[in-house]
């Protein structure tokens, strides 16, 4: 294993000894290798961020650190000694606190009770409420949090609840605090308080792990960064030596200089994009997620939606489809206004959504291929409430042939199919609704290479037939080659719109990083200009 952190910078930042480490940790689930020998080191008195896209292994690593998962190989060290956490309680016991996006405290108890839950000061065998409240108030004052400790926790805002979780972490004298996307549902002011408290903890020598998909926050708060990709360690180094472009390219695994030649995907050339827009989205807002997204797609056009994790790509298509409640905004399909917030309304207007999570939101695993394909069009296949088997058979037969779905028979349970074929079944389900707008959220994720090429080819074919397609993909090749136009989202709004005909991956990368004019945008005071020129000396290869 390479020593991959810059010791000099670390010392300068006043960082102490390693408090929590993993060495060559591996973890797999069935055939899926979630972690492939990951080294991670958290020091006392630092805020360390873990960065990676979906599937990079962030969550798994955190679960290993907090005792939710036991690693298959490698070891976890706490304060220099090898530890074997068998359950989350073991990790908590030695002083590792975790703060999740969703607070796991008891909403009906008071703030003070929650802070001291399980360790309440007692008198005569009963809880000494006076002493408990007093200590809670002292603790809150120390953290600079203004919350009534006798209030019922559930009545507080989510941000305040997280402060309470932090206060609890402090009161148990945690040496490590792990914050997994704590800010994702907080308002700006709450985030500031959270950061202040987090810095306070750091100054007292606590080691903090911070995970957030809001990139700006990383420079604002964190001292060091560890980047994971596909279950492997990619980079560890001080935040100050990282530019946004560096970070994003390391996360996505794209060297800025090395842009792949065209032809990596099955997509053909650009499509016809004439006529009136098939889909017009304007000012779409979703609480905490989208802040006014505009989008126009013409018939026969494939519009790519790009953006990093948390940028609002999936939220955009879900809100258009009515699966996510929009606060405001308008959606028009073929000139007709669509009632937002209603899936059935969207479907009736000719919108279909292939959602990202095939298992949770797509297939009905115990139903047959046939029933899965016909699911959304059952009323259309029925007369007086009785399903016409003949019409379903015809429909299913057509789509199984057209999409080359490999199943032993239409009656085979869909859960027995490969991921690629499941995906095709779902595409068939949506095509059966005869949509005018097809929203595809990561249509090729998690399916094998052959099926991927087929799905890509199909998207092309559909667009040629005049379907308006919105394509979300984390793979840059897929967007650059598959889309006619790419809309880049950042933090819930449209950051850039790129014409795909003269687009290179590096331009897209720059847009994704929100770094189109590299010198004007330093996200935090900590990022100095000199760092941009500094070679990434800390890079190492883990193969």
């Amino acid at each position: 294993m390479t020593q991959h952190s810059s010791a000099a910078t670390a010392a300068a930042a006043g960082v102490g000894d390693p408090v929590l480490q993993t060495v060559g940790v591996t973890k797999s689930f069935g055939g899926v290798h979630a972690l492939k020998g990951v080294d991670f080191e958290l020091r006392a008195g630092e805020i360390h961020t873990l960065v990676g896209e979906n599937g990079a292994g962030k969550s798994t690593l955190i679960k290993v650190l907090t005792g939710v998962y036991t690693p298959d190989g490698g070891e976890v060290r706490y304060a220099g000694e090898t530890v074997h956490f068998r359950r989350p309680a073991d990790a908590q016991h030695v002083g590792i606190s975790t703060i999740y996006q969703e607070v796991n405290l008891v909403p009906l108890l008071s703030v003070a009770r929650n802070i001291f839950l399980g360790r309440e000061p007692r008198r005569f065998g009963l809880i000494d409420v006076g002493a408990m409240n007093k200590r809670a108030r002292e603790l809150m004052a120390e953290l600079g949090i203004d919350i009534d400790v006798t209030a019922e926790l559930g009545r507080l805002g989510l941000g305040s609840q997280q402060m309470v979780a932090l206060a609890r972490a402090m009161s148990v004298d945690s040496r490590v605090v792990i914050m997994d996307e704590p800010t994702s549902s907080l308002e700006t002011a709450e985030v500031e308080t959270l950061f202040r408290v987090a810095r306070g903890l750091r100054d007292r020598g606590v080691g903090l792990v911070f995970v957030s998909h809001r990139l700006d926050e990383l420079w604002e708060l964190c001292d060091r960064v560890t980047i994971l990709r596909d279950g492997e360690w990619v980079h560890t180094g001080p935040m100050t030596e990282m530019t946004r472009l560096d970070l994003v390219s390391k996360m996505l695994g794209r060297d800025i200089e090395e842009v792949r030649a065209e032809g990596a995907t099955e997509f053909g050339s650009s499509h016809l994009k004439a006529g009136e827009p098939a889909l017009v989205v304007s000012g779409l807002e979703v609480a905490n997620r989208l802040h006014g997204v505009d989008l126009t797609v013409r018939p026969g056009e494939v519009v790519g939606l790009a953006g990093l994790l948390g940028s609002g790509r999936s939220e955009t298509v879900k809100a258009v489809y009515g699966a996510l409640k929009a606060r405001s905004g308008e959606v028009t399909v073929a000139g007709r206004k669509v009632r937002t917030g209603s899936v059935r309304g969207a479907l009736a207007s000719g919108v279909a959504l292939l959602s990202e999570d095939r298992k949770a939101e797509g297939i009905v695993p115990d139903l047959s291929v046939r029933d899965n394909i016909a699911l959304a069009v059952l009323p259309r296949m029925s007369q007086a409430g009785v399903v016409s088997e003949a019409r379903i058979d015809a429909l299913v037969d057509t789509f199984m042939k057209r999409l080359r779905i490999k199943a032993s028979s239409p009656d085979q349970k869909v859960r027995e199919l490969s991921g690629g074929n499941q995906q095709k079944v779902l595409i068939a389900r949506w095509l059966a609704t005869e949509p005018t707008v097809f929203l595809l959220d990561e249509p090729t994720r998690g399916i094998d290479v052959g099926a991927k090429a087929e799905v890509q080819g199909l998207i092309d074919e559909l667009a040629e037939q005049g379907l308006a397609v919105v394509l979300i993909s984390s793979e840059m090749d897929e967007l650059v080659e598959g889309a006619d136009r790419i809309v880049v989202l950042h933090d819930g709004h449209v950051q850039a719109e790129l014409d795909s005909t003269d687009l290179s991956s590096s331009e897209l990368l720059a847009a994704l990083a929100g770094d189109r004019e590299p010198d004007s945008q330093s996200p935090s005071p900590a990022t100095n200009q000199a760092a941009k020129q500094a070679p990434t000396q800390t890079e190492g290869q883990h193969a």
């Binding site: 599937g55 969550s59 798994t60 939101e361 009905v364 959304a376 296949m381």
Partner: protein, 329 residues
């Protein structure tokens, strides 16, 4: 943040494959095999088993359980449960003597409507308000039993000739009660196999989120299902009261929810929803009936019969939840 854990857990599950094929078969067909074997054993070992009198009695006794279990099978198919069925039976039966003045048809109609209303309340609680099925129907189970007692008071006898003949009469030697149970079975079977509602029901039970995103009327399906369950329970209650020519709101239908759930579960319908096995459910009800009868034929006390039933239920649930979930991949 999902971070690939979804695929990971799925992979975790698929890891436990291998020994699944026979378990899956047992889950689907075990109840029929067991029923056949037990029938065969009784033919040889029980005196006078093969007589119209014995068979008739068994079928008459099992008929109300079958009717309730069919409704239960639908509810369980939506990943729900209906504990209120016994109380609904009692309520419908308690209303009969009160409204018999409107004639037997009027009284029966009122009983059925009452069952449907209770089902509607359960359906709205589960499908619209979002209360957990077990909580919603447990509350109704207690409340409706109370309402039945309020209406019915003490035991009332039923003497109206139409009702008496419904309970005790027959067509060509087959008791009405059995004919009705058979007809209801046929209708429910057809609904599950052929109707839009039936298809939507198993989709809602199999993956509610996916069903919602596919534009299915999830609420309507849930509400309908609980209404059907309430309606069928009321029907069973009326038949039971007509047969015994009495309505006892305290006792009638007591613990029948357990018999119904048992029949559904050993019939191969998983408690996790997404499947409805009508034939299995009927066979399950018959099997439980036959087990009890067999033990009684051989002078084994009722308490022992209950223990045997319990063992069978646990075994059936084990087959379903333990290995039954394993995938063939």
């Amino acid at each position: 943040m999902s971070d690939g854990t979804a695929t990971a857990t799925a992979a975790e599950r698929s890891e436990r494959t291998g020994t699944s094929f026979d378990i899956d078969w047992v889950r689907r067909n075990g109840v029929f095999v067991a029923l056949g074997l037990l029938l065969l054993a009784n033919v040889f070992l029980t005196d006078n088993f093969v007589s119209t009198g014995t068979l008739r009695l068994q079928l008459v006794q099992v008929a109300p359980v079958v009717i309730v279990a069919l409704g239960m099978a639908l509810v369980i198919g939506t990943e729900g449960i209906d504990l209120s069925v016994g109380a609904v039976m009692a309520l419908a039966a308690a209303l009969i003597p009160l409204y018999v003045g409107y004639g037997s048809v009027g009284a029966i109609a009122i009983g059925l409507v009452a069952g449907a209303v209770v089902g509607l309340i359960a359906g709205v609680l589960v499908g619209v308000v979002g209360v957990q099925p077990i909580v919603a129907t447990l509350g109704l189970m207690v409340a409706i039993r109370g309402v039945a007692n309020l209406f019915g008071g003490e035991i009332k006898s039923i003497t109206e000739p139409g009702l008496v003949s419904l309970g005790t009469g027959d067509v060509a030697g087959v008791p009405y009660v059995v004919v009705i149970a058979a007809l209801v079975s046929l209708v429910v079977w057809l609904v599950v196999r052929r109707s839009t509602y039936g298809r939507q029901l198993v989709a809602v039970g199999g993956n509610k989120l996916a069903a919602q995103l596919a534009g299915l009327p999830v609420r309507r399906v849930l509400v309908t299902t609980y209404v059907v369950s309430g309606l069928l329970a009321a029907m069973a209650g009326i038949l039971l009261a007509a047969r015994s020519q009495a309505s006892d709101p305290t006792k009638l239908g007591q613990l029948i929810e357990l018999s119904a759930i048992t029949a559904v579960v050993i019939g191969g319908t998983p408690l996790s929803g997404g499947q409805v096995r009508i034939l299995g459910t009927i066979a399950g009800a018959l099997l439980m009936q036959l087990i009890t009868a067999t033990l009684i034929f051989h002078d084994i006390p009722d308490s022992t019969a209950q223990i045997v039933q319990a063992v069978i239920v646990i075994a059936a649930v084990y087959v379903q939840l333990g290995r039954g979930k394993a995938r063939r991949s």
